[in-house]
Subunit: 336 residues, 2 copies
């Protein structure tokens, strides 16, 4: 589908689900961005979920978002159960402002929901010449080391840095595979790789539905488990949001809002060494790229480079949408 | 050896190597702490290295450490090539002060060296009721994803949080195994586990010497590689220290000071939700501990709990010192 047509359709669907014009636009833009980036688990596969929750008022279509100033560096945002994109979008813009003013920004968001990719927000900070951490928790998907039941989300760690060229943006879940990828595999009847998830009985499975009912495996055993726990504390406990496995699954749990939390830390990378920073950053990348490579690698990419290539490659292409999702869109657009 | 005797001996050795009384005491204390924690790769196995570098003035025995105030939250420390412990000790204390005053502290250290365990410093912040990140880079030991040569250090990620009980302190290298463990295995003629390191030719090896000549493997492939890269940027590039594989190996490279960088970020965890934080943190831990466990686990420990147990277990025990290191100590004490 042509992107401008898709955008119109999505805005129309969100407007029909009572989002304001501005929030409908923000949400449509982020969903399309996920599709362009081929992060399909964060794209249109989630549209029906967002609409279902809006309809049930579990996402507040007309949130009164409050920004509390704690200091020139620190802000606390009550997103009033807005669609995740909207609260996070306000928060990263505030975090950018704070760091521009003081060298460091710290912005917490509570009463939020799934916000798509952390890199959406990291990128904005990096374009504004800031270093950034983005943390968000997520519904239970990962078993803590030693447990056989999910509790942590796939809790990504996201870190961005300006390079003067393509942004360095590391954005990786603490699980062996993204939950969105499993969801999409389930939706489309695809298999998942071996060794990334267990079924309910604790056995490795390649069946997406079984994996969703079971639990995912963290990277590097106790290390990944500890990193996921760190993210839960930073985005859940610290922000006064749900944590410890209590963030509601947006697809399965309609008993209340998700109550997810996010945390953004922004740093002006020039505070210590001034404009030398960008030069050193470029040297750093060069040192890595100049290393002898293993077989199959002609170039060592830094985090963010591959996504940037994907983005450029797809920017002027139409977006291919599976039939199942097209049907969902028609239904969502037909209401009322 | 009795701890009080060991402490006297270490202080004497450091004094003989021209450290001030205060710096000798700080350094002895941290080395003994590593031994008590059974982090032997960061303990007495490094004593001779520190002394050799002091003798060659690659560690400055009488550093003029400068603390530059950038704002009430942000400080920049030039450690003047002090022994790593000393610069880092000053820095974490400054970071604690800054966060107590403003809610958030950011302290960078340049011209530093190996500082032992990150958890030494994280613990101090946590005891002062702060959340904390500690980042340090390290000599090349890890191949970036796609490369066959070491460039990143084993660059640990360290994160601490007060719990009202035993501190939550996650401290994990981004490598499959700590370099100190390999060094010690080499020193004592022990094997290393299979699958954690490659030899010069890129083949898996269990020989410690071959591993030191070759390269270590990062956790979770590109994810661990990206995390190590992040730590190199935060502690090396941002602070104006060496980076991109240029931090000197303290054991092998006597061509100049290490020029290592550290970064500490401290956060008052009460800034958003006040004293509710500790209650929520305790709930969070309870949620995890109450999960059904896999075989072999009677309790799910949070990061820092095991180290705390080890510490308590060993606190009143003598420290066992391998003969090789005892001989080194005698020689170091005999000079002049």
């Amino acid at each position: 589908m042509k992107k401008n047509i898709l955008k119109l359709k999505l805005r129309q669907i969100f407007l029909k689900h009572k989002l304001s014009k501005k929030h409908a636009e923000i949400s449509s833009d982020y969903l399309i961005k996920a599709e362009i980036l081929e992060a399909k688990g964060h794209g249109l596969a989630r549209l029906k979920m967002y609409c279902d929750r809006l309809e049930k008022k579990l996402i507040n279509p007309k949130p009164k978002i409050k920004i509390k100033k704690i200091s020139s560096s620190i802000s606390f945002i009550n997103a009033d159960n807005s669609i995740g994109f909207v609260g996070a979008d306000i928060a990263i813009k505030q975090a950018i402002k704070n760091a521009k003013r003081t060298g460091i920004g710290l912005v917490a968001v509570r009463k939020s929901g799934h916000y798509g990719l952390s890199s959406f927000y990291a990128e904005q900070a990096v374009i504004n010449k800031l270093m950034v951490f983005c943390f968000t928790n997520a519904p239970a998907a990962l078993a803590p080391h030693g447990a056989k039941k999910s509790l942590f989300g796939t809790n990504p760690i996201c870190f961005g840095v300006p390079t003067g060229k393509i942004p360095f943006i590391f954005d990786a879940s603490t699980s062996m595979i993204n939950r969105g990828t499993i969801r999409r595999a389930d939706k489309l009847g695809l298999k998942i790789p071996y060794g990334v998830a267990l079924n309910k009985k604790g056995k490795i499975t390649t069946n997406a539905k079984e994996a969703l009912e079971g639990t995912q495996l963290p990277i590097a055993n106790f290390k990944g488990s500890g990193l996921a726990w760190m993210v839960d504390i930073l985005s859940g406990v610290l922000t006064g949001s749900s944590h410890g496995g209590k963030v509601r699954d947006p697809f399965d749990d309609f008993s209340g809002p998700q109550n997810m939390g996010h945390l953004f830390i922004t740093i002006d990378p020039k505070i210590f060494i001034g404009s030398k920073f960008i030069k050193e950053m470029q040297k750093n990348i060069k040192f890595v790229k100049n290393l002898p490579k293993i077989k199959g690698f002609s170039n060592i990419l830094y985090p963010g480079e591959r996504k940037n290539k994907t983005y450029k490659k797809n920017l002027n292409k139409d977006i291919s949408i599976p039939k199942k999702i097209l049907l969902e869109m028609e239904e969502l657009n037909a209401i009322k």
